[in-house]
Amino acid sequence: MIRFESVTLTYPDAAAPALRDVTLHIPEGELALVVGKTGSGKSSLLRAVNGLAPTFTGGVLDGRVTVAGRDTRTHPPRELADVVGVVLQDPRNGFVTELVEDEIAYGMESLGLSPEVMRRRVEESLDLLGLSDVRHRPLRTLSGGQQQRAAIASVLAQHPRVLVLDEPTSALDPAAAEEVLAALQRLVHDLGLTVLMAEHRLERVVQFADRIVHVHGDGRVSDGLPVQVMADAPVAPPVVELGRWARWEPLPLSVRAARRFAGPLRATLTALAEAPAELSADTVASPDAATVAELKQVRVQYGSHVALSEVDLRLRAGEIVAIMGRNGAGKSTLLRSLVGLTETSAGRVRVGGHNPVDLAGRDLTSAVGMVPQDPGDLLWNESVRQECDESVDPSQARQLFGDLAPGVDPAMHPRDLSEGQRLALALAVVLSAGAPLLLLDEPTRGLDYPTKHRLVGLLRRRAASGATIVVATHDVELAADLATRTVVIAEGDIVTDGPTRDVVTASPQFAPQVAKVLAPVQLLTVADVLAVLPEAL
């Protein structure tokens, strides 16, 4: 269905080609998952499928890419619109119309379908992606998850035979991600749709894949069956790591498969449970640690919409708190009110004894630091070096950035960095101010596992030296790995607040993979298992 024949893609001014001599064939009806580190060329591969690269990116493409027999050299993207549907990373940038329903119809209008067909397909697409209750809403008022689903629906309505998705679930909460993936799975099974999808959150998607396309980062691309590729891939979800460590054969890719192997391990762990070891997530801050920030009866209202209602929260020194909840539940609003970007309608916010709204300049940065959802928003200088120079402590910022993202040329423009490197730079800039309270809004979106590990290490060290860290995230694996305490928000209310181990094991929605495999044993990560069983196996 999709065929790459010795494709080499070189961007202008690039030292090395982004894709080098790629030969790849994705047969019809397969769900192929593209994996690789950030900035390795996954997006280039996806964009080459319908000719967006090099048509819109510039550069030279050697070799041949054909989709359903059509050559991208002779067919511009618009002539492929009826065979290939593409949803790129930030769907907000791709919305052409104002309303959900019009957006879904847009592509069909371009294809010149008859009004009756359009009516029918719009209804089908709305149902398929669960958007019927927001069909008349303006797109920009939707939550991130709804926007992502609207973008997929608008492409699916064109009935393409190939669907290309770049990070379709990374902005979604676990439940919304499952919905989207279930819808894709149905399309692949029922309609024989071919899907090519890049995704960092392998734990969500790897079990659905028929084939894994590994983009190595030096331009090479290889592909194989998931079990083969996962056996030694440098990026792997926790369930695969557990399987590799326990030498389960064949390697389990899903929680279900792993549970069937995990009986003996569970028995061993249950026997050991009487002597609990010191585990990663158990360094709970003592109740008498100093209070760093406090929300008292805080309400935030936008018009008639209540984003936070009567929230009480106390953050102590040395804590790492994960804030979880659906898209649009109020996580970002909570962080914004802690840094004074959102004024509260009622209640009291205190950060280091001050109301953050009243702080500005150095007073603010030395009290609280925040990395917003899009770390690029924080960066406006021409080069990495200038960004570091403009931070509160340039030498420390440079060092932090070097630790997090080694080997980056300081003369590079922040926009040319990969997603992970940009986050590292924003984090370095914010951390160098040395605030005792650090807020991170969805920090692992678009991050590969190695960068994530470095991030977790850095944050743990910060917390150990007394800083308080609050992370709003959809990433259950991150919360399990990092947080000592987890707060679940729904509709602006705090639903649960407690030690991470208790909170995430209590709910299947927030449970990490290892906990699901080993339930009822309350272990969250592979590291936990290793800590309990240091000498076993």
Binding site: R78, D90, R119, D133, T141, G303, G328, M370
Partner: protein
Amino acid sequence: MSAQRPARALHPVAWWLWALALAAAASRTLNPLLLGAIIGVAALVVAARRSEAPWAASFRAFLILGTVVLAVRVIFEALFGAPIPGTTLFTLPEVTLPQWMAGVRLGGDVTSEALVAALYSGLQLVAILACVGAANALANPTRLLKSVPGALYEVGVAVVVALTLIPSALMHLQLIREARRLRGQSSRGISAVARTATAVLAGALERSLALAAAMDSRGFGRLRPLSAWERRVTASLTLSGLMALLVGGYALLDAGTSPLAAACLLALGAALALTGLYRANRRAVRTVYRPDPWRWPETVTVASGFIAVAVYTAVAVADSATMAPVTNPLTWPTLPLVPLLATLLAAAPAWVAPPAPSSTSVSASRPADALAANPPVTEPVAA
């Protein structure tokens, strides 16, 4: 008007025709009472039938703009206006200008006659702006785009995309200001403003490119293949039609040419251009999803506007004194009954047009105005 009438948006073309007709009527009179009535009618219809969409707030902006225009018109008249004899209200110090600027006056006597005349013509501009503002507030620009002929669709899209760029740039600006706050830097000062502007511009360009890529990959601009000969015929039809329109328009304004010849040329040009457009349309493959229906409220709305302009034109020819009150000597303007009735008739859409669909579902979860307070949509997706 019954409470049970289903809400639906009136056809945007109907709103524009109604508003343009009303504006044309306003251009036929200098009578301040009639102009006031027209502004009132426009405001009434906007208040009754506007939606909750962001563009619905634009009427106010147009009124403010009108007030500024009126003030500028009157002030300029006082400063630079040609002297009109009459009752002198006050005298500004007059600047003696060099010989080569003879004919331009600066300062001097300001007469009430001159000011009133300026006021009337300024009011006319306000009324025209109010009508355009009403059309802006009432008609959905993206729905209007659907009525654009397929051959011109790409041009229309360019305009609409350019218009949406401004709100998205404003949103981005807000994000950058917040980011500056987070980094402990002020948003004031020349260097800060310059950097912010650069960032906003870069962001806008980046988004435009992303949008172009997304639109192309969804089939924007697909054309049905036509033979080279057919393309040439279409192009030459359109081109010659436009030429004829141009020459005809010139002839109409030129006193030496007979109006009949000019009208013939214009008609020929219009026919050729429309044929060309029609043929070009066949190349476009676009269809329209749920086109706005044209029912009797649309017809009544347009008719009410056209009746107003017809009455104004007829009365202006028959009785120019009431339509353009004499300002020298100053007379109290009279309110002519027939044009007033026609103006009031133009308020019919306030009742005839179906109520605008209210977006209750929007306010239930996240109203559009919340966005102004909280620009980053709560969970934006990966950049």
